[in-house]
Symmetry: C2
Subunit: 96 residues, 2 copies
């Protein structure tokens, strides 16, 4: 399934800045960064569970906000971009 | 249709900070802010066209990135949140 992960982590403290790095690292393990705090991931249900467990361990639920949006159907029909777009479709055939 | 708007606006210049404010203002006209640069909007096709036109006028396509994700089906089945969640369902019946 295709998902979009967005987060606001409170970075007023050293601990918050550590959480931010770890949340980003977890998201990088499962997908690609498309904006500063927005990731797109293509995951299987078991991977989703593992990702959620890891993120739940990091997020401070009082201070931070994390949202996961599930994209149904073809990704191309669910995403519109304007301006810079760093997304790379790794599922597309590699042309050498 | 339910959409999610995320953006990274380059704020290194005064002009960039002005763009950021105007992009946020446009998004506020069509929906609600759920994270610092993430909005959720429920729009009709004509509203979507008007919103895109307004955003296209503001975004610097060399410096900024704006993404719009379309959520299909029920919103409740497409959104998972962890931590702070400022979303208000204005379509729900008002209980006084």
């Amino acid at each position: 399934m295709n998902i979009v992960v967005t987060y606001d982590v409170n970075t007023e403290t050293k601990e918050g800045r550590r959480r931010l790095r770890r949340v980003a690292k977890i998201c990088e393990d499962y997908g690609q960064r498309v904006q500063y705090s927005v990731f797109e991931c293509s995951v299987e249900p078991m991977q989703m569970d593992a990702m959620l467990a890891a993120l739940s361990d990091e997020i401070n639920t009082e201070l931070d906000s994390l949202r996961i949006y599930r994209l149904y159907g073809q990704r191309s029909g669910a995403v519109y971009t304007l301006g810079r777009d760093s997304y790379r479709d790794f599922s597309a055939p590699l042309v050498i």
